[in-house]
């Protein structure tokens, strides 16, 4: 024991941990998540760094993706279908919506399949599993920021004046990420058990896009009960908010408050479901 004393200071109290069968609803252990924040940064950084590895165009894809989608939308919805765009030039009208939408869709897609995609980590090392879907969501931010540069250029081109409403932008981005995370942690935990989920995710995203005013204006949705149901989709508020904050369109309506509540419930229930299932991930994945 003497050599042991030399290397580890016996006065340092060693942390005591107890592993027992998990039962019932545990606390969320958010404190532990904070302790592992460096790993979160590393995993996010890995996702970003690997995404465009061995792609000749590299990070240019972060711009090309929304840009090409915008061109297609402008031709089909702006020119052929001639959809109204609240008096804003259609290209910038759709591009400003595509930014939060692609941030959301990418985050949801990655988060939903994140646990299964990292099964080698789940079965070999311990860390709070929540880090995996969180880093998958966070990894989309860099793409978002790169694509945002193009928007700045477009706004200058169309000579759009900024308003103070731009200050709500960080909040809207946060809401986008939290919505993606709330749905993403539910789907990721379910996907560990039921692989059906990963086949479902592309359809979910596709349907969700048509249920959000990415290519069209909210004004097209008829008022009444369906308009209320429509407004419960958090992405409706986010996209309206983006157009309001950057292009000076009409602000989102009060239904956005309800949709924020829905996101909160979804997020909290997702966290608990995830926590409850996480101890079996390594056995099932």
């Amino acid at each position: 024991m003497t050599y042991f004393m030399n290397s580890i200071n016996p006065k340092t109290p060693l942390p005591v941990t107890i592993y027992e069968p998990s039962n019932g609803w545990l606390s969320l252990h958010l404190r532990e998540l904070w302790d592992y924040r460096e790993l979160l940064v590393f995993l996010t950084w890995r996702d970003i760094k690997v995404r465009y590895a061995q792609a000749a165009l590299g990070a240019a894809w972060a711009i090309l993706q929304p840009l090409l989608t915008m061109v297609i939308f402008s031709v089909i919805f702006g020119r052929l279908a001639n959809l109204p765009s609240d008096g804003i030039p259609y290209p910038v009208f759709s591009y400003v919506a595509l930014l939060p939408w692609q941030l959301f869709a990418g985050a949801l897609q990655r988060a939903g399949t994140s646990l299964v995609g990292n099964s080698n980590l789940l079965t070999k090392v311990y860390f709070p599993r929540l880090i995996i879907p969180i880093s998958a969501v966070a990894a989309g931010l860099v793409d978002f920021l790169i694509a945002f540069i193009v928007l700045v250029g477009m706004m200058a081109f169309y000579n759009i004046k900024l308003t103070w409403a731009i200050l709500v932008l960080p909040f809207l981005i946060l809401l986008t990420l939290l919505t993606a995370l709330a749905v993403g942690i539910w789907l990721s935990a379910l996907n560990v058990q039921y692989r059906d989920v990963q086949h479902m995710i592309p359809f979910l995203i596709q349907a969700w896009m048509y249920a959000s005013p990415v290519a069209y204006s909210v004004g097209l949705v008829p008022t009444g009960i369906w308009r209320i149901v429509y407004g419960l989709n958090p992405m409706v508020g986010v996209i309206q908010g983006f157009r309001w904050a950057l292009l000076g369109a009409a602000p989102p309506d009060e239904l956005m408050v309800v949709s924020i509540l829905i996101v909160s419930v979804l997020l909290l229930s997702g966290l608990y479901y995830f926590k409850r299932m996480e101890r079996t991930f390594a056995d099932v994945v």
Binding site: L14, T17, E20, F42, A53, T123, K124
Partner: protein
């Protein structure tokens, strides 16, 4: 500070192998079985065959600074034990108490990303294994030097040879500094020279006073690195003692699977001389000092007898005994367990006993082994006469011949020969 680093209490881990055989549970199958339960109004009972206890009622304690080897055949529950200790999976029963941070190394290169460079992977892998960024930066040069890949530091690891990949991965892992280190079979990789280097590093880690749990099939690595050995068999802890004894036990039990292979002998059907049969000797084997089976020995070469006894009902306590008889001259030496060890209180069947015949005082000739088990009142539970034979050859382990001398035994006494009278 507590002396105990790891305390494992009645640990059990159950797997449902029935549901594992289905590829993956799907939503549809979950819905269908949910409906069935609803219709039948009671849960569908799982048959015992669908349940596998990968760990069953395992208990042990490990002190700070101890290096413990865990051995057992594939499927014995070693990896499951490590997974529970590494907090990757929860136990079904029992609990684990750990005093100190745990670092687990269940695979070399966990989380390595093929697209990332060696440099990037050092950071990523370090973080995954639980190192802080500052810690990785501090050890970066040391890790690179240990891995011997300096030239390829900025090459994606997918272009590495498998040897380089493994070296880099082990180098990162070897610089992990938790108080308790849990290691699985990682030494089974790399070339012989690198394995040696890894073993050296593991030995150094152990000398620093860290607690190490080490799973391996490499019995010589266990013997050289570990003080203590724990053997698992079908999820049960069947042996806990010195690393040498554990390895011997392991060798014995792996061989005894094959009934035809001598020199482990099945003696359950052997005619009994006496005994109530409450505990019954079922297997006997003899090994040499290296833990290998043998039937002939040199002069003074220590040998070890292994005995397995089965009990239908658990006796309150047992004590083994052995008599070695010369085929020409009758009984030469006998030994009783209770001379050295208290009576053994068996908690389950079978009971594993071993006795080291050392010093071996036998002269060249043929010998037989008779064994028995006493109950607490010296009553015979079992007695098998002449169940095994072995040979003592007429030479020393060095090969030097043992010239003929008188006497039924021979012992190395201490001699003192000089010109001066005793000072």
């Amino acid at each position: 500070m507590s002396d105990i680093a790891v305390k494992v209490e009645n640990l059990g881990k159950m797997y449902r192998i029935g549901s594992r055989q289905e590829q993956y549970p799907t939503l549809r199958s979950a819905l269908i079985s949910g409906m069935k339960r609803f219709v039948k109004k009671k849960s569908i009972k799982e048959s015992a065959q669908d349940i596998l206890w990968a760990l069953n009622d395992v208990s042990f304690e490990i002190k700070h600074g101890e290096v413990v080897g865990i051995i057992g055949r594939n499927g014995a529950g070693k990896s499951t034990l490590l997974k529970v200790l590494a907090h990757i999976t929860d136990p079904t029963r029992g609990r684990v108490i750990l005093h100190g941070r745990v670092g687990s190394l269940l695979e070399v290169g966990t989380g390595f990303h093929p697209e990332l460079t060696g440099r990037d992977n050092i950071y990523l892998n370090g973080a995954i294994l639980g190192m802080k960024r500052a810690e990785i930066e501090r050890k970066f040069d040391e890790i690179v030097a240990f891995s011997e890949i300096e030239r390829f530091l900025d090459t994606p690891v997918k272009r590495y040879s498998s040897g380089m990949y493994v070296r880099l991965a082990f180098a990162v892992a070897a610089h992990l500094e938790p108080e308790i280190l849990v290691v699985d079979e990682v030494l089974a990789v790399g070339d012989a020279e690198f394995q040696k280097k890894c073993l050296g590093k593991m030995g150094a880690v152990a000398k620093e006073g860290r607690t190490v749990l080490f799973v391996s099939h490499n019995t010589s690595a266990i013997k050289s690195l570990c003080q203590r050995g724990i053997m698992l068999l079908h999820g049960n802890l069947v042996f806990d003692g010195s690393a040498n004894d554990a390895v011997n036990h392991y060798v014995l039990s792996t061989r005894s699977e094959d009934q035809n292979e001598q020199p482990t002998r099945d003696v359950l059907d052997f005619p009994r001389t006496s005994g109530t049969g409450l505990a019954k000797i079922s297997k006997v084997s003899i090994t040499n000092n290296d833990g290998l089976f043998a039937s002939s020995f040199a002069i003074w070469e220590p040998l070890r007898l292994y005995i397995v006894a089965n009990c239908d009902q658990l006796p309150s306590s047992v004590s083994f005994w052995v008599i070695i008889k010369s085929l020409s001259d009758g009984a030469i030496v006998s030994s009783f367990q209770y001379d050295d060890q208290p009576l053994f209180k068996a908690e389950k069947s079978p009971i594993y006993a071993s006795v080291q015949i050392n010093p071996n005082i036998l002269v060249p000739g043929k010998y037989s082994v008779s064994l028995g088990i006493f109950g607490p009142a010296n009553e015979f539970y079992d007695w098998v006469d002449n169940v095994m034979q072995f040979l003592i050859v007429g030479e020393f382990t060095s090969g030097k011949p043992f010239d003929h001398r008188l006497g039924l035994t021979t012992i190395k006494y201490q001699w003192d020969v000089r010109n001066e009278k005793d000072a």
